[in-house]
């Protein structure tokens, strides 16, 4: 097997080998989600059947995907909207706040820089899960408990650290000579950041966006404590409503999960192309 191929044209045998390995790798990573998909098409009785069937025997219950939007357990359409609003706003806020901080700390020295970077990494070490008691008290004091705003702020704050870090390391990889040349041409710092650096660190920004968005999309612990109204809750919390003490509507758990996964996959598919377009930019020469 060719190990470090730099050219596009590899021998036919090698390419077929790669495709086979690729297929196996892809399947391995898909197994739980294929299981989820099949489960979402079974009736409730069949999911708990002993021994289990691999495929639904009474035909695929596509009606699960219709009925799950209107259940007594939780208002799924509202949950979907909540998830989208919270994740999109929090991701935008993170980008807005983290990009200048990452650029500045990667480029310049200033008093308190070490303290700031330390604070950032401390934030990364703390997770909303261990701080829910304090977060709840604080949101109550600010009178924004049980609102989207509270979750946007919490998600943004706890994902900020990673975005700053990853972008910091990408900015640090851009030679300073590029900045200096632009500054000699009379460009201000903000202009140098937006016009010169951002296009060069595109892969880093993509990584930061994906990480932040996915983490907001799937956030569970803080949402559970902060959002008490069913309509405000994201899908991650809504899912647990189907798990009952006596009977669990697994077909809905799996169906809603599939619906929750698809938008993230679409986001990734969209960004993946951009990433490939940015490949040459990422390799700073």
């Amino acid at each position: 097997m060719a190990f470090l191929d730099t050219e596009d044209r590899a021998p036919r045998k090698t390419v077929i080998g790669r495709m086979i390995i690729g297929l196996v790798v892809g399947l391995v990573f898909m197994i739980p989600y294929i299981t989820m998909m099949i489960g979402s098409l079974k009736t409730q009785a069949e999911i708990l059947q002993i021994p289990p069937n691999y495929l639904p025997q009474d035909g695929a219950q596509w009606s699960n995907y219709v009925s799950m939007w209107d259940t007594p357990e939780t208002p799924v359409p509202y949950n979907l909207v909540s998830t989208i609003v919270i994740s999109v706003c929090a991701t935008l806020l993170v980008l807005l706040v983290a990009t200048p901080a990452a650029y500045f700390t990667a480029r310049f020295k200033f008093p308190g820089k070490l303290a700031f970077m330390f604070l950032v990494i401390v934030t990364q070490m703390l997770q909303p899960a261990v701080l829910t008691a304090g977060l709840f008290k604080q949101m109550l004091a600010w009178n924004i408990n049980d609102t989207w705003l509270a979750m946007i702020l919490i998600n943004a704050a706890f994902n900020l650290a990673f975005a700053v870090w990853i972008m910091h390391s990408f900015f640090a990889g851009v030679p300073k000579s590029i900045d200096e040349a632009a500054q000699i041409d009379g460009a201000g710092k903000w202009r140098v950041l937006f016009k010169i650096n951002l296009p060069l660190v595109w892969p880093g920004i993509v990584t930061a966006v994906i990480f932040t968005f996915v983490s907001c999309w799937n956030e569970f612990a803080a949402s559970l404590v902060i959002l008490s109204t069913a309509e405000n809750q994201p899908l991650s919390v809504a899912l647990t409503k189907f798990v009952g003490q006596y009977a669990t509507a697994w077909q809905y758990v799996f169906g809603v999960s599939i619906v929750a996964i698809v938008p993230v996959i679409i986001l990734f598919a969209m960004i993946e192309k951009r990433l490939i377009g940015g490949l040459s930019a990422g390799a700073v020469k």
Binding site: T35, Q49, W165, A172, F268, E272, G282, A283
Partner: protein
């Protein structure tokens, strides 16, 4: 990535550079101010509240009774199950992070090569990251059920086992499958970060190494890996923190096992809070948990220097 390792070096004189590099704290505020504000407002208060609670005596219904100094810490350190829990935590973090990084390095290298359908495979690999950890773990838990679990059923049918095995019913196998699930959900992020790092490796450098007659492994170890240093350093750090603080995987996979043989600090904190209703003790444990992460990260930063940019 250290900029001094880049092929092109700034020809400009050192003196002028230094004068533009240094900025006053005030001029840094428009750049770091918003981030600082968000962290101070949302993270610092709850963290302080956690530390405060760890020094209080709090009733099971949440009434703050009185200050007890470090009594809560004395209680948790004299807890006979603590050594086992710390050992479990150590095993959990080291095994998950180590195996994740090794597998991700190989996977990133593979997904960096061109072949038809690569985009599809990359997307399949990212699915465990896109899906919530709670859901992925639930499916594994479900599939591994000894009676109606499809994975168990499959193992029996291909002759691997005589009958369904209760993977999640005993501490040791439950811990083992939890490690596998944790690796499974950690690989996508790690691979993706490494892939972004690989894309920044200049083709010329690889060709130059080849011209010099370096073999494939040699090229990888001496040319590619150093270029991946930054991506690797960041992804290992994030993985250590995330795996250490992970609650859902172990909570779902080992939550129904009585006793503390499969507990890490995180799951133990949760149990103390949920079953014993001791906010004070769980806060003290959270402080301990945080202190341990802090020490690990400090050692890591000191030795690996992921922020070393020169």
């Amino acid at each position: 990535m250290s900029s001094s390792s880049l092929p092109v070096k700034a020809p400009a004189g050192r003196k002028r550079k230094r004068s533009t590099d240094n900025q006053s704290f005030l001029s840094s505020l428009p750049w770091i101010g918003p981030a600082l504000l968000l962290i101070l407002a949302i993270v610092v208060f709850p963290a302080g509240y956690m530390i405060y609670n760890s020094t209080r005596k709090i009733s099971s219904v949440g009434t703050d009774l009185k200050s007890v100094g470090f009594d809560n810490f004395a209680t948790i350190f004299s807890d006979p199950v603590l050594p086992r829990i710390l050992l479990n935590t150590f095993f959990w973090v080291v095994s998950v992070v180590l195996i994740t990084v090794i597998l991700s390095l190989a996977l990133a290298q593979f997904l960096h090569k061109p072949f038809p359908g690569r985009t599809l495979v990359r997307m399949a690999v990212v699915v465990p990251w896109a899906a919530s950890v709670v859901m992925t773990t639930t499916v594994f838990y479900y599939g591994l059920d000894p009676n109606y679990g499809i994975f168990n059923h499959f193992f029996v049918q291909i002759g691997l086992m005589d009958e369904g095995f209760g993977w999640t019913k005993n501490a040791v196998p439950a811990m083992a499958v939890s490690v596998i699930v944790a690796i499974f959900v950690s690989i996508p992020f790690t691979t993706y970060t490494l892939l972004a790092g690989l894309q920044a490796v200049p083709t010329e450098t690889l060709e130059a190494a080849r011209m010099d007659g370096a073999g494939r492994w040699k090229t990888y170890i001496f040319v590619v890996l150093p270029q991946l240093r930054s991506a690797l350093a960041v992804s290992v750090l994030i993985n250590i923190i995330n795996v250490f603080n992970n609650l859902p995987i172990l909570k779902i996979m080992t939550g129904s096992i009585p006793g503390n043989d499969a507990d890490t600090l995180m799951t133990y904190i949760f149990k103390v809070l949920q079953f014993d209703r001791r906010l004070d003790l769980s806060s003290a444990l959270s402080v301990l948990n945080f202190a341990i992460v802090l020490v690990i990260v400090a050692i890591y930063l000191k030795t690996v220097k992921p922020m070393d940019e020169v």
